[in-house]
Assembly symmetry: C2
Homo-oligomer: 387 residues x 2
């Protein structure tokens, strides 16, 4: 077991109608709020009007139209400018993980005199950040309980996971009813994203009984509850459980003391969605079983056996490679069963830029240090197997 | 799933030699430290000298001899007096859960003008508390990651669980090597305490797949690792896993969104250790299987089935009450297998004060509202079955 230093200071306020306490929470941080949101789904479900009504005594500036795979230009730059021009006190992010990720980059940029890309690209360490409160409307990324965000820069095909302990939200509101209207496509993609967050941590050299049990529980709960959400989008209990399942994904609690894994699927998927702007969770679901097949070896097989037996209930009395193959197959079939397109071609990606993307990943993601080493050729092979 | 509001702000610094960063951590809180500890085991293992050496540039006041089931008088009162007389900035608790529990009561009392018992008895809500840092030397209570402590007042046989969100430690140092010298008796009692923390939350009306999986993992990890620690007290990995297993016990993360359980075994055990000053974990281990048998009914049986199948691997293809009985039996046998005395008589408790204790519990612990209601007669029956 490895040494660790862990703290998640975020307060989770979870459940139906919890947003009623928003004015009280916000008043702890100041009067001037930057309200960030995406393409308008929060207007459709009435949440925008609800928030504006609750915050009628505050001074609100707005940054709308934050896109999935949120963009440095214009969203982060616009947000930073609004904060600086108006001495904003606190950011309120209302939406999914992309809105929140973008808000985190804005929070750091607003307290920095130079180009915010210096921070995101780790050229400069942030010294301060605006506090962030969020109302999360999509169960997926876990950004509501972690200090990171992923920002894309279109002109360079960069998609960077930017983490800083200054960027934990101070308060996250999670009302499962706001996820009732999430489409089947996004519900499934959110499930795949959250499952992959767990798998990225599960597949490593050294774990504990406790962490393995936590992660196996997380995976099983996600599979059961995502299916229920797809069958009945207004199943409160299933939406609630799925929401909490996703929350723990990236804050590290699943792998305290574990040896590092390298998060290889995220490293690879970042290229796919940077080059093609696909849905992150779908990209992950497509890559994951191909990555598993690619790295299956004498070194890795025991982890796949544990995963297969404990998560999918595969009969343990078989050859270990047979169990591992069945576990990988079960992973693929689960994603397929929730109607995720399981080939890159189905999401508009063909052979043409595979080598370019593989080189980009190999040059930028450090996957030569992943638990199962991935060099440029491995990455290209996994992409091709995913076509 | 119920609404919840959750935050654990404590930083965990975990692993071998992490205490080296103590000066840096403490300097964030001030120069004047109240160092609290127990009967001297920290001197035997060299930790006292280590801490004094590391903190040679600080102004240190000491409160020694804090007892298991820590006492209001003299420990809490003495600690409060020292803090007030010397304007102490921060408390450093070095020892097990009792030292830390006592330190929490001192932290609140030091910032209160009246009698600290007003706070502990919830007559007055604390408005502030000194920051608390701890170095934990026993895997058991989870006090290092929760906002509560248990304080005993000898003259009234009160043993009160005092909780306040001001009392989360700001930093907890957990070095598993400091638990190498913990006796077999205390190792086993710590395991039973931590297991009971989980069981208290597991047995409720309404839980989630995720929480159940977390708790089942916690129980299984505790059983496996406690046995390893007993066999080889210097097994670092086992001591480390057991330490982390215990950490999550009481901070609520195991039951976010669950319906309340009432923590009945703790309510009952508090009377046993208040009247007889027995080891808390042993008292819990003795009561738990008798409580289980007492509450087993058509209403509760399904939880016992889940517990038996998932924690002990009991064959699910049987009558549900048969599975439940086997699960209760397995619980008893596990505690017995780690050499916990499983009868009250073995720890010096006889029939004589059972009715008095049962009345005290019924009057003070609110167990009529537990998941499985316990009235005074139920409590007395459970005590008698435990003799």
């Amino acid at each position: 077991m490895q040494n660790f230093n862990y703290q998640t200071p975020t307060r989770l306020i979870f459940g139906k109608d919890v947003v009623e306490s928003l004015p009280e929470v916000m008043s702890g941080f100041g009067k001037k709020i930057l309200l960030t949101y995406g393409g308008g789904s929060i207007k459709k479900i009435g949440l925008y009007d609800k928030v504006k009504g609750l915050l009628k005594d505050f001074e609100i500036y707005e940054l709308a139209d934050i896109q999935p795979n949120p963009k440095y230009d214009p969203s982060v730059l616009d947000g930073v400018r609004i904060c600086k021009e108006n001495n904003v006190d606190v950011i309120l992010s209302v939406g999914g993980g992309s809105v929140l990720d973008c808000s985190k980059a804005i929070a750091a940029g607003a307290k920095y005199d130079g180009d915010p890309w210096d921070l995101i690209s780790y050229k400069v360490k942030a010294q301060a950040a605006l506090p962030i409160v969020d109302i999360i409307t999509l169960a997926a990324t876990g950004s509501e309980y972690d200090p990171g965000g992923v920002i894309s820069r279109t002109e360079t095909n960069d998609k960077i996971g930017y983490m800083d302990s200054l960027l934990y939200p101070v308060v996250s509101f999670l009302d499962p009813t706001y996820t009732f209207t999430v489409s089947k496509k996004q519900t499934a993609a959110g499930c795949a994203d959250a499952m992959n967050h767990i798998m990225e941590q599960y597949f490593c050299e050294d774990s504990t009984l406790l962490n393995d049990g936590f992660m196996e529980a997380g995976l099983k709960s996600l599979m059961v509850n995502a299916k229920k959400c797809l069958e009945n989008p207004e199943d409160y209990t299933a939406r609630a459980e799925m929401m909490l399942d996703c929350t723990y994904g990236c804050n590290g609690i699943y792998s305290l003391g574990n040896s590092p894994s390298g998060w290889p699927c995220h490293g690879m998927e970042h290229a796919l969605s940077a080059y093609y702007d696909i849905t992150h969770g779908e990209g992950l679901a497509i890559i994951t079983p191909r990555w598993m097949k690619h790295i299956l070896s004498e070194k890795t097989v025991d982890r796949f056996v544990k995963y297969g037996v404990n998560v999918f209930g595969i009969d343990a009395n078989q050859d270990k490679f047979a169990i591992a193959e069945q576990a990988i197959d079960a992973t693929y079939k689960f994603f397929e069963s929730i109607n995720i397109p399981m080939h890159l071609k189905e999401v508009g990606i063909d052979e043409s830029r595979i080598d370019e993307m593989a080189k980009h990943v190999a040059d930028n993601e450090g996957l030569e240090n992943a638990w199962a080493t991935l060099m440029q050729k491995d990455i290209a092979d996994i992409f091709r197997a995913s076509l």
